[in-house]
Symmetry: C2
Subunit: 181 residues, 2 copies
């Protein structure tokens, strides 16, 4: 029987307040009685969407990611704005990044990307019944849409070219459980 072992917060201080994240450093007492610090990146929730066309083709996007210095192949994703519901954020990002509106949106998971230090929670969706509908992208986004046939997904996952966690997760889930299985 698991007993939750929590750390007691002694003090919290926000050392940085920024554009997409804040950094908090907490003093805590461990169950052992020892003291430690916990560094916590406060980040808004986000959504990631796997768009699947009627023929089973999935739509990925390619963009350069400054933080990691690489061009990444990813599912459309973005930060939830204010009190925007997750499903609305998913429909907005899908229209902004790939230019489709989904008739069907299925949430397949709600996961923390780095629970060791970040509060970022991501809702993962599969979008089907796609109808062309374009919303203006954020002006600091430079992305290209990359259609991937369903049969190419296993090689993409095995080849090491997929470097994005949410995309690795969504495509693996789709192969394991998707209707197209």
């Amino acid at each position: 029987m698991f007993e939750s072992v929590r750390e007691q917060t002694l003090a919290q201080r926000t050392v940085y307040t920024g554009r997409i994240l804040n950094l908090r450093v907490d003093d805590v007492t461990l169950p052992s009685g020892k003291r430690a610090i916990r560094e916590v990146v406060e980040h808004s929730p986000a959504v990631g969407i796997l768009p699947v066309l009627d023929d089973g083709t999935v739509l990925l996007i390619r963009q350069h990611r400054y933080a990691v210095g690489e061009d990444m192949l990813e599912i459309p994703a973005g930060i939830v704005e204010g009190d925007e519901p997750f499903d609305e954020a998913a429909r907005r990002e899908l229209q902004e990044e790939v230019g489709y509106y989904p008739e069907h949106l299925r949430e397949i998971g709600r996961i923390y990307n780095s629970p060791g230090f970040s509060t970022e929670l991501m809702a993962l969706f599969v979008a089907t019944g796609l109808r062309p509908s374009k919303l203006q992208e954020d002006d600091d986004e430079y992305i290209s849409v990359v259609p991937v046939a369903r049969g190419e997904i296993p090689a993409l996952l095995a080849g090491g070219t997929l470097r994005d966690a949410k995309t690795f997760a969504a495509l693996s889930w789709w192969i394991a459980f998707g209707e197209g299985r």
Copy 2:
């Protein structure tokens, strides 16, 4: 044809240097010519390991995660120490957290958990041929091992109780591509 669009770094300043992460704030010029800042969390690489017993049972761990304030069900994982090779880090964490040494260790992916703001790269492994071998845990880790039969994984993924991205990814991959399929 995709042309990589990069942002030009004008200045970098490290606003926090810490225990498991640093925070850097860069001034950049966007391709549009507009200026912006990029917040980058510098984090060491990490490993995540899906341990699979000979009968197909996977071993997960449950622990409280301070940053997100939840008890999480996760695959064993940890930060790579110094210039430790990823596979050695995986063997070490596996022995520390679940008490097994893997005869076979297969890397299934190398992914960025949050490429929008974090440099954290995670190597994902599947560990088989498990032999009992316990290494002392870090003294600030309080975890319990949770065996999960292979047949229970789909319900676990569908039930929303799995809140950890690397675990969602590894289990989905295992169902999609694992030998036990």
